[in-house]
């Protein structure tokens, strides 16, 4: 029993890490309908910039601040240079364009900062602690806490501010958002900037977890099923989806893996996501539009 609980808890905590990446997707998708595959490269870029600055001897907060500005500028630049000229194009074209952007970011980041692996130490102790007989990683708890704070902060930002209201409005009707008095372009830039910030947080936590290296870009593959399950437009969906995927993957790897021969977590989350979609074609928290003809 305690083995089951430990596996479950481990999975849930890993799931929060996926949510962290998924949130970046939700933000951008909600505002501009772009499925930003370059999010993974942005995570890598953030982590790489941060450790490079740290290796040059910069103070933690100064490095974080500089990285933040780099990421915000990067986010805004992507919006401006790539996505604005592509406005009104099919979603799949936008998606593929962000894939092209990810080649650019990866290439340029590695030209500037090299391809070596780095350790990223955030100073969080990682000895396991026992809670009610269940072993839990301190680092994972801290990461989950950070993700929680991030989501709450973003929720407040997007629920209480004018920008947030406009953001929610454009999901329904771009004209309505304009009437609040915020230009769509401004809104997109803000959202891409915030996406840059989210990738910094994700980059730091994932970088601390597995080292700063190219494989950071692969975290998007784990974030995708999270989004499908939670719906592309819901912040709460990203969290719940993350928990479902994390727990599902871990339990499947143990219990289904022993039946099927292992590595089931490469596909389990996706199959689970399709199952969810068949029941709810727009994700758990998404709303399917009424057909009008």
């Amino acid at each position: 029993m305690s083995f089951f609980v430990e596996t479950l808890v481990g999975g849930l905590l890993a799931g929060v890490m996926y949510s962290l990446v998924a949130i970046g997707f939700v933000l951008v998708f909600k505002a501009s309908g772009v499925f930003n595959f370059a999010q993974g490269s942005m995570v890598l870029c953030a982590a790489l910039t941060f450790v490079t600055l740290r290796d040059k001897g910069l103070d933690f907060w100064l490095a974080a601040l500089i990285t933040l500005s780099v990421m915000v500028v990067l986010g805004i630049a992507v919006e401006r240079v790539v996505l604005r000229p592509l406005v009104n194009r099919p979603q799949i074209t936008l998606f593929m364009a962000t894939l092209g952007v990810s080649f650019m970011i990866e290439g340029v980041a590695q030209i500037a900062m090299g391809a070596s692996v780095h350790e990223l130490d955030l100073g969080i102790v990682d000895t396991p602690i026992e809670i009610g007989g269940v072993q839990v990683s301190q680092f994972d708890l801290a990461a989950a806490g950070t993700a929680g704070i991030l989501v709450i902060a973003l929720s407040i930002f997007f629920n209480k501010t004018r920008i947030g209201i406009a953001l929610r409005a454009i999901a329904d009707d771009p004209q309505a958002a304009l009437s609040i008095g915020i230009r769509l372009q401004t809104l997109w830039q803000i959202v891409w900037g915030v996406a840059g910030f989210v990738s910094l947080v994700a980059g730091l936590l994932w970088g601390a977890r597995q080292g700063v290296q190219f494989a950071l870009t692969l975290v998007v593959l784990k974030a995708l099923p999270v989004l499908i399950i939670g719906g592309f437009t819901s912040m709460a969906g990203a969290i719940v989806g993350g928990l479902i995927v994390g727990a599902g993957d871990s339990l499947a790897e143990i219990y289904l893996g022993s039946l099927l021969g292992g590595s089931v977590s490469t596909w389990f989350a996706y199959v689970l996501a399709v199952a969810f979609l068949l029941v709810r074609p727009a994700g758990l928290f998404g709303e399917a539009p009424i057909e009008r003809i």
Binding site: I290, E291, R292, I293
Partner: protein, 256 residues
């Protein structure tokens, strides 16, 4: 008197708790042009969507050519002989006029995918036959000079005619026309009215028509049904409806 082509009995529909149609009943006689009128949001388009299965009614029954159902799938309705044009442009916009109209014949296609791929069996014969039928309809609706153009490049009025051609080519026994003259000028309306009338008389197709222009409605239709907030407020000949005080109050008096 012959059996009506379409009978609706107590048809209701709601979206998220809001009643769009409320226990609606009326008949469409074989060979008539029946106009559905009423203010925006009265549920006219929703009703057409129920008849050919795009929406599913909450309750009530529909009898079409003697076959009774509550819910029907769009493909089944088409096979039974319900044709349809659309209020907002629903043409296959990247295809030519020819291809759009040919698509209206897909349900009569018997050749399999293998025959299509290799040009064997029924494929060539069917292709010839379909092209002949399309050419007839295209000529009938005076579309011959646009035949090979991509529909998205054509003027709006012509697109509306392509829509009609696509619906007609399959030989429907009932044709549902959702605002076929919306956005047209007077000349174009006249022309379209002519085509509708000719379809009715020459091809003997029963027609249900949604239209806002009262002069068109009164000139074309044999039978008018008036809807208001999902309820029927009038049903009869154009003359009867024109004199009905409820109708005047709900619609005619205010809107026009």
């Amino acid at each position: 008197m012959a059996e009506p082509v379409l009978q609706l009995r107590d048809v209701s529909l709601s979206f998220k708790g809001i009643k769009a149609l409320n226990a609606l009943s009326f008949n469409v006689e074989r060979g008539e042009i029946c106009a559905l009128i009423g203010p925006n949001g009265a549920g006219k388009s929703s009703l057409l969507n129920i008849i050919n299965g795009v929406y599913r009614a909450d309750s009530g029954s529909i009898t079409f050519n003697g076959e009774q159902f509550v819910r029907i799938r769009p493909a089944r309705a088409a096979h039974l002989g319900v044709g349809r044009t659309f209020q907002h442009n629903a043409l296959f916009r990247h295809l030519s006029v020819l291809d759009n109209v040919l698509a209206g014949l897909i349900r009569h296609c018997r050749a399999t995918i293998v025959e299509h791929a290799f040009g064997i069996g029924r494929d060539r014969r069917e292709a010839r036959e379909f092209n002949r039928r399309v050419d007839e309809i295209v000529a009938f609706l005076d579309l011959t000079k646009h035949r090979d153009k991509v529909v998205a490049t054509l003027p709006y009025g012509v697109q509306k005619r392509v829509d009609l051609a696509r619906a007609l080519v399959g030989g429907p026994s009932l044709l549902l026309l959702d605002e076929p003259m919306a956005g047209m000028n007077q000349d174009e309306k006249q022309e379209m009215s002519g085509f509708i009338l000719e379809t009715n008389t020459r091809l003997r197709t029963s027609i249900v028509l949604i239209e806002h222009d009262m002069s068109v409605v009164m000139g074309l239709s044999h039978h008018v049904v008036v809807l208001d907030y999902g309820r029927k407020v009038g049903d009869g000949s154009p003359e009867q409806v024109r004199r009905n005080p409820d109708v005047i109050a709900a619609y005619l008096g205010t809107a026009h």
